[in-house]
């Protein structure tokens, strides 16, 4: 069985937009029964207003210190993004995740424990420069209650829905999906990141099965 992947170009979604209305306007005429509508997590987060100016974040000593141990290609290498995560997930949780990850890295030679333990936002946050303008000036947090978002999409449009964090590096993470979504199929489709991460402005993708 093959699948058809339809990236849908939209206007620039902002915190003033209602996500369901955006989907209705740009995907409404295209949707068919049996489709899976996949929304990019950054777009969902932006529509929820999950944007923070770095100027409005005051990094504490813990954020300044811990961020120095994170590889500079990661969003959390910025003390501002790390502090924003601490504000949501809790400072103690992030400190504990840091201590455990140091030990697991040194003694077990295991990578990634910090992101696994510090909470969802640690893996989802995008630092400044990480999103298309004008949101390149903001720290963009991960979406809030993604399960409720996909449920609302399914209820309104009668199709399966998922929110995905995909990038051009071939890594994708399904944040939330309705019951009928085939996770393995989505992982396979989004390995190539059909929505793109830059100016393509295609934050919605329709995945259609073809017999």
């Amino acid at each position: 069985m093959s699948v058809q992947v339809i990236p849908v170009q939209t206007k620039l979604v902002t915190p003033d937009d209602d996500l369901l209305e955006v989907i209705s306007e740009y995907c409404g005429p295209l949707l068919q029964k049996g489709d899976i509508l996949v929304a990019a997590e950054t777009m969902v987060a932006i529509s929820q207003g999950r944007l923070i100016r770095p100027e409005n974040v005051k990094p504490g000593r813990c954020a300044l210190f811990i961020s120095q141990f994170i590889h500079q290609d990661g969003s959390l290498s910025s003390p501002f993004a790390l502090q924003a995560v601490m504000n949501e997930e809790g400072t103690l949780r992030v400190i504990a995740a840091f201590i455990v990850s140091v030990f697991s890295r040194v003694f077990l030679r295991r990578k990634g424990d910090f992101y696994r333990l510090a909470g969802k936002q640690a893996a989802l946050v995008d630092d400044i420069t990480g999103t298309v303008p004008p949101f390149d000036k903001y720290i963009v947090m991960g979406p809030k209650e993604p399960e409720k978002v996909v449920a609302a999409i399914k209820e309104r449009f009668g199709i399966e829905a998922a929110i995905i964090d995909a990038n051009d590096l071939g890594r994708s993470q399904i944040l939330a999906a309705t019951e009928g979504v085939d996770h393995r199929l989505l992982q396979r489709v989004f390995k190539k990141n059909p929505a793109g991460n830059a100016d393509q402005q295609t934050p919605l993708v329709i995945v259609r099965r073809r017999a």
């Binding site: 120095q68 003390p79 303008p133 004008p134």
Partner: protein, 182 residues
């Protein structure tokens, strides 16, 4: 007692080691390298009755860590009463493929020991004075570039000041030829 001493010694050593690590990591040192300005062009456009200044300025990171240039603004330095009728439009962009034509500064990451070339363009007009008179009164206009750098140790606002020698304004090559013919 000996356990307490050993514990304090370990904690002290660890703290000192971490402090040393933190200190030796350093920070970004991103600057608009005014000393390395290239291709400075000051041109008088008689058709539009304006002066156009263009130059390339390297945006360099001489620090030990990467930084992010988040905002950049240009502003002329006050140059006397003649400024009242002056219209000055300045724009600075990173020189790259698919550069945005507008004046929006897209946040960028600058790794240590790396640089980007930026292009500054300044257009100057005056509502009541002609360009030769303006040049006589303002032979040099200073432009200040304010820029915000977000580093791994905090946010810094920096500034660079670039003098534009308006007195060196040249006519476009085509017009020069026409004058010679006359």
């Amino acid at each position: 007692m000996s356990f307490l001493v050993a514990f304090l010694a370990c904690a002290g050593t660890l703290s000192a080691a971490l402090a040393l690590y933190y200190w030796q990591l350093g920070d970004q040192n991103i600057i608009f390298d005014i000393g390395a300005v290239q291709d400075l062009l000051v041109q008088h456009d008689p058709e539009r009755d304006e002066i156009i200044c263009r130059c390339s300025i390297p945006l360099t990171n001489r620090g030990e860590q990467q930084g992010m240039v988040n905002n950049v603004f240009c502003q002329p330095v006050y140059c006397g009463k003649i400024m009242k009728g002056m219209e000055i439009r300045s724009q600075i962009n990173v020189v790259k493929e698919q550069a945005r034509e507008n004046g929006y500064w897209e946040s960028l990451i600058l790794k240590n020991d790396a640089y980007f070339l930026t292009q500054l363009e300044v257009r100057i007009r005056h509502s009541s004075v002609d360009i030769p008179t303006l040049i006589r009164q303002v032979p040099r206009l200073n432009i200040i570039i304010y820029y915000q750098v977000v580093g791994r140790k905090g946010i810094q606002w920096k500034l660079a000041e670039l003098p534009l020698p308006l007195k060196d304004a040249q006519l476009p090559a085509k017009l020069k030829e026409e004058k010679v013919v006359e």
